[in-house]
Every structure is written in C-alpha cells, then in structure tokens.
Symmetry: C2
Subunit: 421 residues, 2 copies
Amino acid sequence: MTAKKSPSTLSPLAPKRFAKLPALAGVEVQAMASGSRYRGRDDLVLLRFSKTTTVAGVFTSSKMPSAAVDLSRAHLAGGKARALVVNAGNANAFTGKAGAKAALDTAKGAAKLVDCKPSDVFIASTGVIGEDLDPAPLVAALHQGAGKSDWLDAARAIMTTDTFPKLVTRKAKFDKQEITLNAIAKGSGMIAPDMATLLAFVFTDASVPAGVLQKLLAEANGQSLNCVTVDGDTSTSDTCLMFATGDKKLGGAPLRSLDDKRLAPLRAALADLMQDLAVQVASDGEGVSKLITIDVAGAENDAAARQIGLAIGNSPLVKTAVAGEDANWGRIVMAIGKSGEAAERDRLSIDIGGVQVARKGRAVAGYDERPVAKHMRGAHVHIRVDVGVQVKSKNKAKGQARIWASDLTHGYIDINADYRS
Amino acid sequence: MTAKKSPSTLSPLAPKRFAKLPALAGVEVQAMASGSRYRGRDDLVLLRFSKTTTVAGVFTSSKMPSAAVDLSRAHLAGGKARALVVNAGNANAFTGKAGAKAALDTAKGAAKLVDCKPSDVFIASTGVIGEDLDPAPLVAALHQGAGKSDWLDAARAIMTTDTFPKLVTRKAKFDKQEITLNAIAKGSGMIAPDMATLLAFVFTDASVPAGVLQKLLAEANGQSLNCVTVDGDTSTSDTCLMFATGDKKLGGAPLRSLDDKRLAPLRAALADLMQDLAVQVASDGEGVSKLITIDVAGAENDAAARQIGLAIGNSPLVKTAVAGEDANWGRIVMAIGKSGEAAERDRLSIDIGGVQVARKGRAVAGYDERPVAKHMRGAHVHIRVDVGVQVKSKNKAKGQARIWASDLTHGYIDINADYRS
C-alpha cells in the first residue's frame, strides 16, 4: 500500500519565478526530512513563533476530519501559537484513536523543543488517508533540527501532488509602520471550497488580537481559497491558519473590530495575498491545462453567485469543453440550471473572453466566433455570466462572485487513477 | 457549430443481447429520419396511443429547462396522451421564444396527424443546447411516416452519445390478467439524479388513472433513475414519461391509492423494470469501463443515504481510483465526509467486493488485499458503506440507498473534450 510516484510534469500555468519571501520578525522556519514516506526530499516543516503570536484558523467542513484538524481546531480556542508542524505524505486521517494520539504526541514533541504548552502547537498533515502515522520519526527529526531553511524550502516540503511550490508576500501599512505578510500553501487535487480548501499558512508581523484575526482570515478566505475548485472533492485535512507575531504594534486603542480604519491596509493586502494563493492553487490543479476564471453577476446574493460559479467550475462537462478549447456555452447554461440557485433563463447572458455569446436566454445571432476561438486556445479562459435575477421593483439583483477552476484533462486521470491519496 | 461525431466504441458493459419487446395494445411505434442533424440514421420517434391512454411524468430539476420540458410539463395537467414525439440531435434548450414555438408547432403537427388536441401530445428533445430547432423537417417526416418499426428501432433513434440502445420489458399480473410493461431510454452523459435523469419512456397496457400513475412513476423513479450518476451534471432536458393505454382493465372499484393491493404486482414489476433501465444507463456512462454499485446503510434516513451514495458516485477521485483498479477507500471516506449528511467517523465501515476494508473508523488491520484487488479488476465494482449513525436509545439509524455510477476514464475526456452537446 505504497503511494506511487505521481506524474510530476510542471503545470503549464506555473509561475515563471517564485516569490522571494522576506524574513518575518517572530517566525523561524525549518524544513527537514523525516524519512517517513518520501526519500530524498524534505517532508516536514517546523515554524516557531515568538511569545506574542496570535492565531486564527478555518478548517474543512468534512464530517471525516483528520486527527490533525481535530487537534488544531481544539487548540485554536486558546488564540495563541508557539509552533506549527506540517508533515507531507500521511494525512493521519481515518486513523482512529491511534491517529489522535499520533497528532498529540507530535504536538508534545514540538512543545518540548519550543518550551511551550502542547496546546500552543498546531499540526497540519497531508497525504495518504487511512494509514497509521508514526509520530516517532517526526519528533526525532524536529529535535535533530535542520540547517538554514527559507520560505521556499518550507513551501516545497509540504507539497504532495503539487508540481510547484506556492508562496506569496505582501507589504502593508499598519499605522505608521510597514508590516509584512508571507504565506505558503499546498494543494492541487481534492480541492473544493468548503471552508479552507487546502493547506495554507499566512504569517504577519503585525499585532492583531486573536478575535479580530479570526474575522480577518474568515473574510479573506471566503473570497479566495473558498472560491477555488479543482475537482469538487473536499479533503479531510483542509486547513488554513494565520499567525500574527505581534512584532509591529498599533498605537492607540486596542483593535476590536474588522472595520477599524487602521486595519484597512492590512485587510486589503490580505485579500490580495489570498487571492494570489487561490490562483496559484487553481493553476496547479491536477492535470490542469487552462485556468478558468468565472465571474457571476445578477444573482440573488453573493452566496448564490458563488454556488452558481462553483456549479460551472465543478461541471465535468464544462471542464472538459474548456480542455478541448470548445466555447460550449450550452454546458454553462446546463451548469447554471443545476446549481439550484435562482436564475432567469430568459434573461441570462454569457460572455466568453469578453465576447457576448448568449443574451436574453438564447445565442447571440451571428456573433464573431474567431476571437472566442482564439481566447479558448489560450491558457486563461474567462467566463462571465449574468443570471438576470430581478428583485422587487424590477431592479437587478446584485449578488456576485469570482471563482477559479482548473479544466479536466487526461492528466487528471493519469494522476488519480494510480496515486493513492 | 456542428456536432462532431462522437467516439462510438461500444461500452464494455453493453448487454450481450438486447431485450425483445413485445407489441403492446394501444401503442404504435414509428422511427424515422428527419435529416435534421444526423445522416443515415433515424432521429425521430412517433408513438401513437389509444384514446384511453393516461400519462404521468417527472422532469429535470434544472432552472434552465428545455422548451420540450416546458411543453410536456404543461400538457401533463390534462392527464391524457395521444402521442409522444422524441427527436435526437437538438435539445431545443436555451432557444427562447422561438424554441417554445418550435415545440408547440411540432405538437400541433403531430396532433393533426393523430387527430387530437395539441395538449394531448408530449415532446422530448435531446442533443445540442442553444441552437434553434426547425420544426418543419420534423413535422414533414411525421406526416410522411415510416414503414414498420419496432421498439428497438425507436430505442436506437433517440440515441445521442449512447453506445447501445436501452430497452426493457416485464410482465405482471393485473387482477386476473397479464399486463406488459415496455420501456426505452437514452442517456450516457450529463446524467445526475435530480428528478428524471435522462429520456426514459415507460408503456403499459394496464388501465391506471393518471393520478395513481403519477405516484407509481414518482416512486419507482426515486429508486432507479434518480439513483444513477455518470458525471453529476444535470441535463436541461431530463424527462421520464409513463403511458398507460387502458387496454387491460381492473374489475371492482376504481384505483385510487398506490397501496391498493391489486396494484402490487404492477408496482413491483415497474420498480424492477426501472432499476434495469438505471443499470443500463450507468453501464453506458460516457467512457465507462466499470459499473460501480454503491450501497449505503446506517444513514439518518433514506434521503441522507442517497446523498451519501451520490457523493461517492460523483467524486472524481473515487471514480478515477475505480478506473485505475485501486481499492482506495480513503477517497470513499473523503466523499462521505463531504456529503454534508450525518455520518459517524469513528463507527464507519466500508466493504469493497464483500471484503471489509475499514471498520470503526479505521483500516481493518491485515485484511486480505488479494480478493479485493481481484474484485477491482472486474467490470462490476461493489462498494458498501455503513455510516454508523445512531438514533435515540443508541439504535442504529436505518436509512439506506443503492446508487449506480460509472467510473471516470480517459474515454470520458475523449468524448467530451470535442463533442458539442
């Protein structure tokens, strides 16, 4: 029951160069090899945080959460973090009491090293489901430590079927100071948006109380990682955690609300950073050949717009049509129809690559197919639908959303017909 | 914008021989070629019914129903039918007012031929979405008529990407008489259960009032065609109609309830017939290499069990694992977890091919992988899950369902990356 090596052809949508993340006050990064599953690569990351670090998190909505998710969700209650341990290769999911003990033993091992309470340690695990995780080699590797690691090493160490490491950084103003936001993520399959949709970790040197940090993260996540879909499958392990080390402090009254004006630059930078991560994840969807960006307007509300966008982005028929470079908008109509959300057939319009192909519930007679065909041959496909819902007094409903999806190709089948995840 | 010829490799799960359907009193079958889209094959079916014929129907839940669905749904109110017209190649969906007129004109043309009201004519259309349907060649072909057709001709004429025609017949007792049930269906992609999941037509010579017929059909459909999934996509055109010609009458009081004992043999035969159709449809899923039968037990109720079964049957990761002959039950756990229905992780058990591979929330230590691997190499894969929900007083919940699904292969991509449907 060993994981076969997955095809590792680099995604055609991989960035030309990876973001170079600066050091971040209050975070120490170490990547190492536990030897648990993979050979010749790092598979374990330890991040140590300063004593003032607060934490926020969103997790998979799966009813079958992994032991790591159970543990980190419980530890979130304290609002403080001193360490994060991430291992790749074994998800420690569906492993019963032994799995819960393995997660706790890993946290205890890290706590000893960092000199903190186990409840200040967070764990995320990704990889095969249903195999016992032996915490001993993880704890041994943690204690043995590593040489100098950088953010790129950490992003690489948490990869499974990813074909490229995912990193992003932003600067923002925080009162008169400049703060940094760094993030790393992994995920390329079993990704569908239902709370955090993959492993993603965001770090900032700002000082933000845990309660406000949680709201910040939930908001940004809702418009980024929760809007990505590769195959509609939801992992047992999806975790997004945000750590604020508290190095840069605000003057004046403590932060209490998301709407505090002093937070606005951080809030905007976080939204931007997480959307960048979301695009990176969709761009590494298993077997991806094209990134599909879907904009939905005219829905009953934003949540309905998101559901409609996901119905389009998850539809195997839409995804295969995009892979085949076919501007098959009939399948987009089908997907909207099955979403279950309000949509007005006879007011529906669809644009592909900026060209309106359907309007008021039927094809646009004699639209120019050439720019559409050219757009479909590119690596970035843009679909825009207006579902034409009307509210009271015949005003147009204003619900909107943006979804990022990968297409469905032979590569997806190749990867998943023989990789045991 | 022409439909390319789809790959037509016969499904490896196609029946060795097709059912031979007997004549059915009160139904006349004609298959013909309208020349609308396909060349060298029939693409149009006319069924004429005797004057005593009652009708029942279930339709797609899509918010973007085709003009044919709109028309047939409206005509159902009368409870009577004199003709059914089915065309393949153009779904007459998302065609605006012109589409509604095309459907009505087709019904009027058939009504003239059959000498009935247009509202006693039912229409079903399947094929490409978003192209105007010209009713003239259809009406002309109807009036020109055809030579002698049989049920197999009709089943063939309504095919699109199907690789084999779908027919089934059953006999049942109806008081002291013997009645016949015949059915034909089409559908191999864009099939997901949300009301009728494809085009399916059931005929019987029994006399059943429309109200009771509707209940009979809805019940049987809920445990058959509504439990099939190929790709989770729901067509704009899904239609299942049942016609009872009234040739064989019951003595005694009129039928009023589904629970009338005189109905029991018909009810059982209908359930059996429609499950046969459901298996045929899943066995012709686009690109199918294996038929997956999923039994769910221990769910909160039957509806929850069905949702869980569909989450498994729709999961791209489960479907590709089956295609790859990998007994990857971790992905089954994932799919159960994402269904949103109640399930007890730590009481969950999973059988594959009759071998228990997971029990009480973890792998069965040292189970014999050989019979499981052998089972996975076969054409019929059987997955059984018990989600272990407990109800009051610690009794096991009794919700159960059976779902039929196809696997996800390179063939699906081949068919859908370049067929415009």
